[in-house]
């Protein structure tokens, strides 16, 4: 009996593209299982070994085309998965979290300061922080519904704070040009305070929501 696994591996080579490469072993196992069964069926029907081998090889088709098509199919899936598991829930979380903040500010929610009276300090919007787990849970639900796994779900929920964090990091070097008179220590402290109040704490709140949503057991779908 030919080693169909080795045969497929030889011809398929290593698949490029993140998902195709990750699943390369599974693909090779699946294709070799197909050829193995096809070959076994031919032998069982009385086809001579050499003829069965040649028919099985022909059944594979063009290996270059197969390789190209598999990579393309897997990449198509990767793009689609990223959009459904990260970017779409991330966008919704982004809009929802800042909509909630605007709403709270409209109804008169006041921020808390870690160092009242000081020019720099961590700013807390407590009601916002308490509501963010709910927003995180929505992101978790949307991402998991699209078969998102661990880190993708958390990344989707953290899009709002990561965007803000990136903005702060971009603006930090700009402050050296714009605010030349402000001492470096003040600038660094301000960056740390902004990161803590607008990135780390809200990020923790969002991730808490994702974690809690993950704990919820899936209810069986009732069919009519």
């Amino acid at each position: 009996m030919p080693d169909w696994r080795a045969y497929v591996r030889d011809r398929l080579g290593s698949l490029s593209g993140s998902r195709a490469a990750e699943e390369g072993d599974d693909v090779a196992r699946e294709l070799s299982a197909h050829l193995e069964e096809f070959h076994a069926a031919l032998l069982a029907n009385g086809t001579p070994e050499a003829e069965a081998f040649s028919q099985t090889c022909a059944r594979a088709g063009n290996w270059q085309e197969l390789r190209r098509e598999i990579i393309s199919a897997k990449q198509e899936g990767t793009m689609r998965d990223r959009i459904r598991q990260i970017w779409l829930p991330g966008l919704i979380t982004f809009m929802a979290s800042y909509f909630v903040l605007c709403l709270l500010q409209r109804v008169g929610a006041r921020p808390l300061y870690s160092h009242p009276g000081e020019p720099v300090g961590v700013i807390f919007y407590l009601p916002w922080l308490f509501l963010l787990p709910l927003v995180g849970a929505i992101a978790g639900y949307l991402s998991r519904r699209a078969q998102g796994d661990g880190w993708r779900v958390y990344l989707a929920s953290c899009v709002p704070v990561l965007a803000l964090g990136a903005l702060f990091l971009v603006l930090f070097p700009v402050s050296f040009i714009v605010d030349k008179q402000v001492p470096l220590q003040t600038k660094v402290t301000t960056l740390v305070a902004l990161m803590a109040g607008w990135v780390v704490l809200p990020g923790i709140a969002l991730c808490t929501g994702v974690a809690l949503q993950g704990l919820r057991k899936r209810q069986p779908i009732r069919r009519r």
């Binding site: 197909h34 069964e37 594979a60 088709g61 197969l66 199919a73 689609r80």
Partner: protein
């Protein structure tokens, strides 16, 4: 003998149709299609598997590894509601095409 290009177009409908009655692994999908079409439709791996992966990505099929009757690991494909929903319009589309071909090219049933 049906040409490869023609067969390719039929593969989606053929795969969804054979999966309508229950999950099957790749080899079995190919075998059923060949058997039910009287040998007219048989797909190479290059035609079958990329399409299965695409259909899985679109949420038409769900694939999972399991152990077959012979004790070997097999990846079987199950039709999802979204895939089942595609069957009706696809069948209607092919029926339209055959009607049109009958009118234009005088194609008749054998």
């Amino acid at each position: 003998m049906i040409r490869t290009e023609l067969k390719r177009g039929t593969a989606e409908l053929a795969i969804l149709s054979v999966l309508e009655n229950g999950p099957l692994h790749g080899y079995e999908i190919g075998r059923r299609i060949e058997q039910q079409s009287g040998g007219a439709l048989h797909y190479t791996l290059a035609a079958l598997y990329p399409l299965l992966y695409r259909m899985e990505n679109r949420g038409w099929l769900h694939a999972e590894w399991g152990t077959g009757q012979n004790g070997k690991r097999r990846r079987s494909y199950r039709l999802l509601p979204r895939g089942r929903k595609m069957l009706k319009p696809m069948r209607a589309e092919w029926a339209d095409l055959f009607r049109a071909l009958r009118r234009v090219a005088k194609v008749t049933h054998a």
